[in-house]
Symmetry: C2
Subunit: 261 residues, 2 copies
């Protein structure tokens, strides 16, 4: 493991996300949890269930980040090809995994552990299981790649079970202030100057829109949230104080935290 | 333009998605709309607001697909660097765009069209504007790259305004049947055989879970949805008929369409 802070990438494997059938929610969960344990998420790719695309992408991405987390494609059907593609990416055989076999076989009546289900117990040689407390069929880890289910409930349980294996980095602190009535274009210059004084932080500015007032007098309210993010909590606090001062100078009434919807 | 069907890729640019602050909803919208007009979405990447990452990724991705659609990073603040990065990717100057300038300057009081806002009217040389009926500041098109806002409401309006410029492909038809009480592992073998008979279609199988019954007798119901997708509507209809027959043979009661939540 390198001494520099660890980094993460995520690969969402599934035609259902690329076709618009399914709204992905795994990225937000993984992004949030990885940030909390100090492994910033640096890239996400969403790709289809096509073997050569999965193999190429796994090899491209795993070389560039400390960890690669994949979701999707480890069920029993013909379009579940992630596991064999990861074996191909690592150049190792894809073979029955005794531990996974022992977990799954007894769950079915005689004859029920059929060829399709045996695929869920077939893994790249050398894979280490990732527990699945929700529906038993495990994920696995090989090299710096963690292969998880696509169903959010299962993915989340798998991720929590593998967290202790990861090399955590310094925790990222995120502080937010928001204001209404000041357009982004008005605060941009001052915000850029504050960013320049805090090069170790990421300052982000995010416009928001919400409806206010009652049904008889609806009102559209626009505002901006400013987020300061970094591993130096004191710097983040100081930067947010400067942002708040800037917003007051521009005539606003900055409030801490995210805007309520 | 090639004669083979056009393909699309999407690049989501923004630290706020990679940090988990924001739940992306643009992928689902673009995936759905692109499918409807026959330009299947083949890859999505989510990357941070870092110049060299944006430049490299734009050039990598635009070379591989008919169209690249980007969202995010075209506002007035210091972290809005998509536009200048796209200019760098194409190796052209980033300069005031007279048409964009003429749209934006009159919107502000004297002095209000400041340096930050002028950035929103600065574009790669040769860019063609994409109208923004929601908040005026336009996106732009250069080569096969379409640069849009990240705010979903604005992005959607921009996308609809550029649809007429795209080379549409054959429309993708998607038919779904769902069933409860049959686990994926039981139908996997038969489904694989049907997929083999319809090589021009994508057959996907997606487990679902829902709560049934009333509050006093809650019940968890598991099922599977099977989707047949392709440009040949007759083949999709025939494949779904075969899937329904398979599900009935396995003792199920297949129903057309997506499962209700």
């Amino acid at each position: 493991m390198p001494d520099s802070p660890p980094t993460a990438s995520v690969l969402i494997i599934g035609n259902e996300v690329l076709s618009g059938r399914t709204q992905d929610v795994n990225v937000k969960f993984l992004a949030t949890r990885l940030g909390e344990i100090g492994i910033p998420l640096r890239e996400v790719r969403i790709i289809p269930d096509i073997a050569h695309v999965i193999i190429t992408t796994v090899n491209e991405v795993r070389a560039r980040f400390t960890y690669l987390f994949t979701t999707g494609g480890i069920g029993p059907t013909h379009d579940d090809i992630t596991s064999e593609c990861v074996a191909a990416a690592f150049g190792v055989p894809w073979e029955p995994h005794p531990e996974a076999w022992a977990l799954l076989e007894p769950r079915y009546p005689p004859g029920g552990f059929n060829a399709a289900r045996q695929r869920m117990a077939t893994m790249p040689r050398g894979a280490r299981l990732i527990a699945n407390p929700v529906s038993i069929a495990p994920g696995f880890e090989i090299g710096n790649v963690f292969v998880m289910a696509g169903v959010p409930e299962v993915m989340r349980a798998m991720f929590e079970s593998l967290v202790p294996r990861l090399q955590h980095g310094p925790r990222v602190v995120s502080l937010t202030v928001h204001v209404t009535g000041i357009p982004e274009g008005t605060l941009a210059e001052g915000l850029g100057a504050i960013q320049a004084r805090f090069p170790g932080l990421d300052l982000g500015s995010y416009p928001f829109y919400r409806r206010r007032g009652n049904r008889d007098a609806p009102e559209r309210e626009n505002g901006v949230a400013v987020v300061a993010k970094g591993t130096d909590a004191a710097a983040a606090t100081a930067a947010i104080a400067e942002v708040s001062e800037l917003l007051r100078r521009l005539g606003g009434n900055p409030l801490p935290g995210e805007p309520s919807p």
